[in-house]
């Protein structure tokens, strides 16, 4: 065991970089294995158990709707308030509908969804798998000739791939509704004019860039949550540590993925 002081800065940077790459590699491996059991496995005579994915989809998606609705509505309202303050100075209050819908569909909807899903489900994935690791349930699965990835991870991926984009669309709607509340109260819109302005402002491109992000966020959150769960050491505190680390790492990676794809969309128009 070398001490940190004995290592030179470049070698520390090097080993940290390698560690990070190895971490990303293991996330990709987890996602790949899950994709294999979900999409290739059934054609090779391995049974797929949709009930587990449906259960997960309920927990990940349907049960998140109330809190996500509230938060995205409030964010839409806050966005409108902030933008309204600036737009008023330029006398462009009529732009509020356009500004809100573009910001919400391209960025805020998917991002708020990701944050809510990380808090509710990413942490739960790490805690669930971590607890199963500590109580030897993961070992029990293996001794019973079950693949823990197929059993525990694949249903979560499937559920997240469907539910995160669906939640993002819902968050988009509620965000726009938040903007509408400000628009009618402070910018002289009616339901019809706000709806019309929103519809004119939005193009398909805005929607699908947001949805592509949402899908990627879903993959990142699941992979990190499950990976941290499997990495849990011994004891109850270890589960807590994995959960914390799942949330922190997921937020960081989601924002990184967001930056990369927003840059790509910016460059490609």
């Amino acid at each position: 065991m070398k001490t940190a002081a004995a290592e030179s800065l470049p070698s520390r940077v090097g080993s940290k970089t390698l560690e990070s790459l190895a971490y990303l590699g293991s996330l990709a491996q987890l996602a790949g294995q899950s994709a294999y059991v979900t999409f290739v496995g059934p054609f090779k005579g391995r049974r797929l158990r949709p009930q587990r994915a449906i259960q997960q989809a309920m927990a990940v998606g349907v049960e998140a709707i109330p809190i996500l609705s509230l938060i995205s509505f409030l964010f839409g309202l806050i966005m409108a308030l902030q933008l309204g303050h600036e737009l008023k100075r330029f006398g462009m209050m009529q732009m509020i509908a356009e500004a809100v819908v573009v910001a919400v569909t391209r960025e805020l909807g998917p991002l708020i969804t990701a944050i809510v899903v990380i808090g509710r489900s990413g942490s739960a994935f790490a805690a669930e798998i971590g607890t199963k690791k500590v109580t030897e349930e993961v070992d029990a699965l293996r001794t019973m000739a079950f693949d823990p990835v197929a059993f525990l991870v694949a249903p979560k991926f499937l559920a997240m791939l469907v539910m995160v984009p669906a939640l993002a669309i819902w968050a988009d709607l509620l965000g726009v509704f938040g903007g509408y509340v400000f628009g009618t109260l402070a910018a002289g819109f009616t339901l019809q004019t706000y709806f019309q302005a929103t519809r004119d402002a939005i193009v398909l491109h805005d929607l699908y860039t947001g949805l592509i992000k949402a899908v990627l966020f879903g993959i990142v959150i699941t992979a990190v949550g499950c990976h941290e769960g499997f990495g849990t050491g011994a004891g109850a505190e270890a589960v807590g540590r994995s959960t914390t680390s799942a949330v922190v790492t997921s937020i960081f990676l989601v924002v990184t993925v967001d930056l990369i794809f927003t840059t790509l969309f910016y460059i490609t128009g």
Binding site: T135, E136, E137, T143, M144, A145, F146
Partner: protein, 272 residues
Amino acid sequence: MAEPDDQTPAISVVDLRVSYGEREILHGISFDIRKGETLVILGGSGCGKSTLLRTLVGLQRPTSGEVWIGGVNTATIGEREMDKIRLKMGMSFQQGALFGSMTVGENVALPLREHTSLEESTIEIMVRIKLGQVGLSKFQDYMPAELSGGMRKRAAVARALAMDPEILFFDEPSAGLDPIVAAGLDQLILDLKKAYSITIVVVTHELPSAWLIADRILIVDRGNIVALGDREKIRASTHPRVRQFLDRVPEPEVTEELDYLQMLTGDRERPE
């Protein structure tokens, strides 16, 4: 170590070495487990007996050596092939390791549902039979959390029996149980031995239970086998570590960290 035997053993371990990182836990051990016998692996805490068990069921990869089960060297095969062998093995974990989100009945049914194409009604009957065998027929619809420690272990045995295994492994069956419940578990193992002619491997540090259930006893100390044989042979052993274990002579206190690590891995020579 193994005595002459004309039938093929259920498990044959040859020069098995297992390490965690740089620390070697098992230092090249060899022994056979005969078909239909009950072998008790006995040893103190940290002697490597749990690692040995984990290696036998394929949860831990050996660094070198061979583990032959059913004509296959499991040390060299992949997860997939290992799964085929695992279908013929049952394992009862120390804390039961029942799946907390399923009822006791669903836990027992799970391997049948996933690995066989039996009708749901047949599975239902088999679950009832298996739970009956461990004395839990009335508790099919209970959640694992609602059961006592002893009942949970019994349920885990029922789940391990679900696929009618050829080899049944027990990890510390009486750990954390009061003597009466522990005696009940010993009796369960004896009953299973009588009912099926399966090979049973039990890892424990409980001497009374070892004397009761074992056909042969294997004593592991610091990653090495120090004794293997039937009860009489073990009782008559003059090996100092076996005597110390059987006569319950305490170890001198270990106060140095290095000594402790060496004690675990067996690198340190004991002053005899």
